[in-house]
Amino acid sequence: MKKYVDMHVSSSIFHSENQIDKILHIISELGYAIICISFNKGFNNFFEKIKRKSEDFGLEVYRRMDLLPKNVQELKAKLRQIRRKFEIISVRCIDKKICVAAARDRRVDTLNFPTLESLKNFTESTANLAAEGDTAIEICLKTFLNVRGIRRARLITESRKAAKIALKKGIKIVIDSGAENIFEMRGPQELCSLGYLLDLPEEYIDLTVSEIPFNIIKTNLSKLSASFVLPGVEIVDVEEKNWSKKRETDT
């Protein structure tokens, strides 16, 4: 059975501990199997509670970090610090230079464009770098819900252009809610409807909320595991490795 993923849910949707059950219940009723919660300071213990409770609802919960660096140096420093602590790392591409650096960096999973103006940073040259760095672009429904009229129309136009470039260059597209409160969340089929608005191919739309984010998470989980060495290289048996080490020291 297909697993639907909302790769961007803010921790603020769980505004109090009493509400965790109710909110997890709504999320599972909406049809999700996996959610990624964007992380705030002091959220660590709270996250563990959510993770424990989510098992009762058949949900998998992962940590996500949204970076908003001031410059490229800060981006690199933060990536060094946190890459191994989070399953998903996304960069908000408000600045062109940061967008280019994030697209190039393999440690970045998704590029996020939170405003209409920021979408203009996603050009063909940035797309080439993103394709090399295997970085996906993220389209948040929340960005569309928060604007009206001319601004929404222009946002749809710019997002459609970005999606067209991404498809042309073979960059993965992820559609998520970006919800900061529970009423900004939508079901997977409703997220898919955004894909129709952006003229994505029909057979591709469903993948943007299922297979594509699922594969990103799966790859990152294997990278974060202790046995990972390089892509395609893994330690299969730790005991065997220890034995061979011991043999080397003995000789």
Binding site: I26, E29, L141, R148, I182, R186, G187, Y196
Partner: protein
């Protein structure tokens, strides 16, 4: 002969903290539909709110088979009903009201 325009019935459920009336629901879906697709686009959908049950918070809307995705977008973009924040979730789509009720209602 095959009919050019066939109706589809979308069964939906509303998640909200307070009750929503059928009139307010219809009004706000119309408002979103007109804002997103204009009067011409709205006319193409043949949209109508067939029924809405306040207790179960489930309802059925009608549209043409060509405009199902348009209506789904409209439901996704309907954020508030009479100033109450809501989530509208599609439960299923059917070709007849009877089947819609039997399968999803």
């Amino acid at each position: 002969m095959v009919k050019e325009e066939r109706n589809r019935y979308i069964v939906f459920k509303i998640y909200s903290n307070s009750d929503v009336s059928k009139e307010d629901l219809a009004k706000d879906i119309w408002r979103t539909l007109l804002a997103m697709y204009g009067e011409y686009g709205a006319s193409k959908t043949n949209f109508w709110l067939i029924e809405y049950d306040k207790n179960t918070k489930k309802g059925i809307i009608r549209c043409t088979h060509m405009t199902v995705n348009m209506m789904r977008t409209v439901l996704a973009f309907t954020t508030k009903i009479a100033e109450t924040p809501v989530i509208i979730k599609t439960l299923g789509i059917s070709g007849t009201i009877k089947a819609a009720k039997e399968k999803f209602y």
